[in-house]
Amino acid sequence: MPTKPESSVSVEDAARAPLMEIRDLNVHYELRGSALARLVGGEGETVKAVDGVNLVLERGEVLGLVGESGSGKTTLGRALLGLVRPTSGHIGYGSHDLASLAQRQLRPLRRQLQMVFQDPHAALNPSMEVSTAVAHPLRIHGLVNSKAEGRSRAAEALERVGLSPAEQFLDKLPAELSGGQKQRAVIARAIICGPELLVADEPISMLDMSVRAKILELMLDLRADLDLTYVYITHDLATAKFFCDRVAIMYLGRIVEIGPTEEIFADPKHPYTQALLRAVPDLDPDRRVPRDLPRGEIPDAAAPPHGCSFHPRCPYAFEPCGWEARDLRAMFERRWLALGEDAYAKEGPLVGEIDEVDPNQELVRLRAGRHASELVSLLSEARADDPDEPLWRGVEGIEQDGGTVVVRFREGVDPALGSVNDIDVACHLHNPDLRPT
């Protein structure tokens, strides 16, 4: 990522140093993991779960990490707590860099950095009493000397999260608690060491509608009382809008848009954010689901699209967005979807397996043999049938080279976060140098 985003710290906040500064953070996972696999020539694939993220976390704020599954929001959240080893980058916390600290040095810091999990059923050991579970962090960090002390501290924490009277809950097993009570216990466990930062990973998505508000209210209370900073990970834009001061929209490991909640929800800049917002079901029965949702689904994270990851689905995609061979194949699939089985039977063999020819390249050579000219005319037919298809904006030229048809795409550019008012957005539409006139 070429540029560093400017921090969105406003002037009055600057007096307080930020809680955390994340620079160029990468978390990559090797697929088919072993070095051995690569040694023997298996092209070991890498999933860039977090891909060059820059972020400043202010003290006391609630930052929302919003995205769909596979967007990297959970991985990023866990990296902030040192629960995931970053591949590279910097996580400044106080005088430490969490990204490079050894596990041993990380441990004492974990007291200040806590997590609340999505599934309260799974987060509690089913055979551990609530008092033991809640006091567990104290024991790990050696903050209590006796079991009794742990128990009384656990009781305090339980009262704090509203499980009152605590005596009623201390000796229960998780199975004896309702979903909301379990989540309260999980939160009690998270705050018992007096943390500064709480990363809450979808803390209410497993709960019933009537309970969600209670947990959110509790979290807001705790934030005010204990001076907490939250990172709120969610795919639910409605709670993000209500709960967060700032939101970062993530897509395939990158932050595509970040800014104050109100502004983003009022005027989203990135086409992806816009799509997400329009897709949220609303209680207003007069509103109808939009017909123009982004097509397709989130691509395979092991082989993200060229250029802007969102371009294959983006209705506004244009020349520099990173067109490549797969987009051509997707275009044909959409075409056949529209035209039906017969068109596929006729054209399918002509097009062949585009995927197997130079994926991720700006130049596609389609071996068509003696049908080369037919393929050229098919391509122009397809273009004529759907001239508004964004793909054609990216096609620079189609040439026939003997038995090969060469489709040349325009060079793609990785979008970097750039400021538009208070919002940082990674989209060429907002880049004055590239924006179509």
Binding site: E68, S164, S178, F265, V280, R288, L293, L337
Partner: protein, 340 residues
């Protein structure tokens, strides 16, 4: 008005458990007209999934069913398992919550379609099967290139579309969709809602849409039935119910739903009741802000309020309310210890 496709009368479902029978569905009645989508909402454990499956005769062996499920003049509750099984597919369809595990991993998508079509239309040629399958897959946005792929080669959203296609390829007149988008992402969810909303237009299929998400009901359904503790407490056209909810539970549920326009938090105190020993009278009375003395005494009768039907003593009938019954009920305090 046209004849209902499906008419459910006083349906009851019990489960045997160690602690005693659970009255999961407790005397539910509703009608579904051709091409109509009925949203069935409620919190987890209210019996909405049990109801959906009970209608299709797909309950586990431990469950007992009573009442009427009238489909084209036949009562599915008393029909033989074989008869019901014949209807499943060409007449009654089901779309599941977890699309990822609903396809046999060892069979190609094409084989799934072949099996389904061969079962109910044995005379079809392979060519016809392929044609019909690909057409319905196309309608669901699955390109023909993927017809022979294996289930694991598809994402969750695509698998759900395949499941829907497989339910629709037989053109059933009634489909139960059981939380079909719960496991899916926002955009995919919107896509699926779009597809299901289109069913009415394109397939003339009636849909029982089970969900806990009121927003989805608002977007995709014609009518809504709100379930609480095994009963439908309110049903009516979506627009009316959302604009003028009549049952206190519906009101509370709408208020506590967090949407993009939410500005303040609200919640219902307490927790849904234990269905082994449900509260007397109106099941909601211990949590109801408007509970009256009559509420724990007697079961409320269904009452028409405008286009809606509501089971709540607030709406009468007043001749059944005993003297002093409309005095406010002195409620026991609800603590966090009782919450969900």
């Amino acid at each position: 008005m046209t004849e209902p496709v499906l008419s459910v009368r006083d349906l009851r479902v019990w489960y045997g458990t160690e602690r005693g029978p659970v009255q999961a569905v407790d005397g539910v009645s509703f009608d579904l007209r051709p091409g109509e989508t009925l949203g069935l909402v409620g919190e987890s454990g209210c019996g909405k999934s049990t109801l959906g499956r009970g209608v299709l005769g797909l309950l586990p062996r431990a469950a007992k069913l009573a009442g009427e499920v009238n489909y084209h003049g036949r009562n599915l509750v008393t029909a033989t398992p074989r008869e019901v099984q014949r209807l499943r597919g060409p007449d009654l369809g089901l779309i599941f919550q977890e699309p990822l595990t609903r396809l046999n991993p060892l069979l190609r998508i094409s084989q799934h379609f072949e099996e389904t079509l061969r079962t109910h239309e044995p005379g079809l040629s392979k060519r016809e099967i392929q044609h019909r399958s690909i057409e319905v897959l196309r309608a669901m946005g699955i390109p023909p290139t993927r017809y022979r792929a294996y289930p694991h080669e598809f994402s969750g959203g695509m698998r759900q579309r395949i499941m829907i296609a497989m339910a629709l390829v037989l053109r059933p007149s009634f489909v139960v969709a059981d939380e079909p988008t719960t496991a899916l992402d926002v955009l995919v969810e919107a896509q699926i809602i779009g597809i299901l909303a289109d069913l009415r237009r394109n397939f003339d299929t009636s849909l029982l849409f089970i969900t806990h998400n009121l927003g989805i009901v608002a977007e995709a359904c014609d009518r809504v039935a709100v379930m609480y503790a095994g009963r439908i407490v309110e049903q009516g056209p979506v627009a009316d119910v959302f604009a003028r909810p009549q049952h206190p539970y519906t009101k509370e549920l709408l208020r506590s739903t967090i949407s993009l326009s939410t500005t303040g938090l609200h919640y219902i105190p307490g927790a849904p009741p234990d269905l082994v020993e449900p509260p007397s009278g109106c099941r909601f009375h211990p949590r109801c802000p408007s509970a009256m003395r009559v509420c724990p005494e007697r079961f409320p009768e269904p009452v028409a309020v405008g286009p809606q039907t509501v089971e709540c003593w607030l709406h009468g009938p007043s001749d059944l309310v005993p003297a002093g019954g409309s005095e406010p009920l002195a409620r026991e305090e609800i603590t966090v210890a009782d919450e969900a």
